[in-house]
């Protein structure tokens, strides 16, 4: 069997499929990580010293250990514990937990950005803690930290490429590109192509988020 050294439509489709996997990984782990990070960040503002310290330690570890090591460690640990997971499941769990550590800090910053006096005013009107939190604190905090969160999600998109260490197939965009490179021997061209895929997908997220932000601005809610 001979190897065809030319870049074909099949290769492009292969890379597009990789891009789709990258995008899906980003959306799924981004969503789970954000939900989890929201809860952790919220808990971090609690008055329990124990909770704050434990979650602080968790976040420190998550943010200090390279993601690639976390992928391998978690995957190996599950295998040793006799609960082998398929690479995508294992990858998504690791990635979601990793993201949650970063999101938690953003959420905490958002909650703390709401002035004490605004919360006192809400409670003074008779709102309960939860009503104050969900109708006053969250809407104000989200607007404040939304750009940081968008930045995080763009980072996640590129972090998904590290899932390759688990040998997940079909491969995501970067791994797919590498596979094509090995055969076609045109690394520059193919990496430029891969870069374009990444750029396009990030642009989609940026565009959507900018639109969301603009809807807040149009309604005049830009804060002084």
């Amino acid at each position: 069997m001979t190897i065809d050294p030319n870049f074909s439509l099949k290769d492009l489709i292969f890379m597009a499929q990789g891009a789709a996997i990258t995008f899906a990984l980003t959306i799924i782990s981004g969503a789970i990580g954000t939900a989890l990070g929201f809860l952790i960040g919220w808990a971090r503002t609690s008055s329990s010293i124990l909770v704050v310290a434990l979650l602080g330690a968790f976040i420190d570890v998550i943010r200090s250990v390279p993601l690639i090591i976390q992928f391998i460690l978690f995957n190996s640990f599950m295998a040793i514990a006799d609960y082998p997971l398929d690479p995508f499941t294992s990858g998504i769990i690791t990635l979601s937990v990793y993201i949650s550590g970063y999101v938690a800090e953003v959420v905490k910053a958002g909650i703390e950005s709401v002035p004490r006096i605004t919360r006192l005013a809400a409670r003074g009107l008779g709102l309960t803690y939860l009503q104050d939190f969900f109708y006053v604190v969250v809407p104000i905090g989200v607007r404040t930290v939304f750009p940081s969160w968008t930045g995080l999600m763009l980072g996640v998109m590129k972090d998904t490429s590290l899932i390759a260490v688990l040998g997940a197939t079909p491969p995501e965009l970067l791994r797919a590109s590498q596979i094509v490179i090995t055969r076609v021997q045109e690394p520059l061209l193919i990496l430029i192509g891969a870069g374009c895929f990444y750029f396009f997908m990030c642009a989609v997220i940026t565009k959507i988020n900018m639109r969301v932000e603009r809807s807040w601005n149009i309604t005049g809610s830009t804060f002084k």
Binding site: P115, I117, T118, L120, A121, A122, R123, G124, L125, G126, L127, T128, Q131, Y135, V136, P139, I140, R143, W216, T219, G220, S221, T222, F223, K224
Partner: protein, 240 residues
């Protein structure tokens, strides 16, 4: 009636209230005056349970404010509070700002709360600002919005914490006019204020705070025009 009995309040080792006694009758307007840091604002926060107290008792309509059995969220519906710092909810229009608590706390429908909001905003002279966001309002308008928001809960008492102190001088008048109107309508108010002319004119009684206690209290005109205590004289002398 609000009855404050020997209330002590500390932040850490700093004792802010050192045995405050005060009774406020229905329909009365009491102005609290005194230097910054004398504990006036803290007392307001204690009255609606936004702050705890170390000892003493506060009763609002015979409900003990700091009793374990008292639901603070319920209690606060009787007590409107307006602060010095602007604190309108920045993500909501004036109408939504006023309608939020009636909708959440009194379970009013959106239509009902909208109507109530229009009513209250008209009362404070903001009928043309229903759909404006706080960032689009002047300081005086934001304070009137805060008053409307408190009134929409139909409180029995209004606690006012230096509501004109953060305002440019030319905006003070419109807010005081609103408060005057409220006092004429019989609203019970406890107002921390540095506006002596307002205290003299609208207040039934004036209480002078010094060192965490009420140092002197009396009918508004008498106390301001003719204070008995030396500390009160000093304070009023500095203000005038």
């Amino acid at each position: 009636m609000i009855d404050i009995q020997d209330v002590h309040k500390s932040y850490g080792s700093l004792e802010v209230l050192k045995g405050v006694n005060l009774t406020v009758e229905k329909g009365e307007v009491i102005c609290l005056i005194g230097a910054s840091g004398s504990g006036k604002s803290t007392l307001l926060l204690c009255i609606n349970a936004l702050e705890s107290i170390q000892s003493g008792k506060i009763y609002v309509d015979d409900i003990e404010v700091h009793a374990k059995s008292t639901n603070p969220n319920k209690l606060r519906q009787k007590l409107g509070i307006v602060f010095q710092q602007f604190n309108a909810f920045p993500h909501l229009t004036a109408r939504e700002n006023v309608g939020l608590a009636p909708r959440l706390v009194h379970s009013k429908s959106r239509a009902e709360s909208d109507e109530l909001a229009c009513e209250q905003l008209s009362y404070v002279g903001l009928a043309d600002k229903l759909n404006s966001y706080p960032a689009q309002l002047s300081g005086g308008q934001q304070q009137r919005l805060a008053i409307a928001r408190a009134l929409a809960m139909h409180p029995d008492y209004l606690l006012l914490d230096e509501v004109t102190s953060a305002l440019d001088p030319e905006l003070v008048g419109e807010v005081l006019d609103t408060l005057r109107k409220l006092s004429d309508s019989g609203m019970t108010m406890i107002a921390v204020t540095h506006e002596m002319s307002f205290a003299r004119e609208v207040g039934d009684r004036v209480a002078f705070f010094h060192n965490g206690v009420i140092h002197e209290i009396g009918p508004a005109r008498d106390l301001i025009d003719n204070p008995q205590e030396i500390r009160t004289k000093e304070f009023l002398g500095k203000i005038k």
